[in-house]
Symmetry: C2
Subunit: 165 residues, 2 copies
Amino acid sequence: MEKVSFADMPCSMANTLDIVGEWWSLLIIRDIFIGINRFNSLRDHLGIARNMLQRRLQRLDEGGIIYKYPLQNGHAEFRLTEAGVALYPVLLALASWGDEWLAEKPPNLFIHDACGNAVNATVVCNHCGEPLGSHNITQEPGPSMLEPDASRLRFLIKELKAAEK
Amino acid sequence: MEKVSFADMPCSMANTLDIVGEWWSLLIIRDIFIGINRFNSLRDHLGIARNMLQRRLQRLDEGGIIYKYPLQNGHAEFRLTEAGVALYPVLLALASWGDEWLAEKPPNLFIHDACGNAVNATVVCNHCGEPLGSHNITQEPGPSMLEPDASRLRFLIKELKAAEK
């Protein structure tokens, strides 16, 4: 399964999943955010096999999400890069979806320090602040999507719009 | 790998990944959003093996994300449930992260119909509207997290806060 790469698809979501979308990877990142950042702690907390954890950490390192930071005692811990830290809102959005659609009561609360409330992450437009969803977004080929992918996408979106009418 | 289940972890992110976190699953959902929703179209567009696609679709169906809708011509298409449609903002957040950290130029543009701009999805607090990140969120055990997980999490967060000082 892992021989397939999503890196060549003209889609930033696929490219993101190429780095963080492997089974376990986002959970490793989640754990590092709460301070579980040593190899053995991650293994124990996730119940993951050593060789699997090793491979996932290596992929996250190569993908620029984490790096290994040597400690004075000869051990090392894994830390998030700037790109890794920037994944936190994405994890919050995943958790909020799960809270809404899977959980009766939330297993975790995420308190927004500034306003003191437990948050449900909301995804909004960076220009006007309105909540975003498939009903108010129209996808189109961007500057780095080549033909024939661009024509294919335009055709699909045109069909979708026609079906909505 | 897939014998492991994240469903029992006291974490809505893990529970979400238990349904949509398998390699390919989010790409299948992405494709259904743009109207690629027949078995053969998905197989061709994703370049995925039939049996793998079959398993992923079945898991998404069982997880309440998609359902099979019979067409008059004897074929069927896959449609998103309400919970599936609610994943769109999460996909946008993944794509926006990839646009920012992986792409020189975005392969896709997501135009917000109301304001006409290409969006970068921003994750904000549903109470006060401020952008969220690991720097302004404090995680704590929620109503459905049991001991000893709750004590463990409280300890970890306390250590994190102490280290920040």
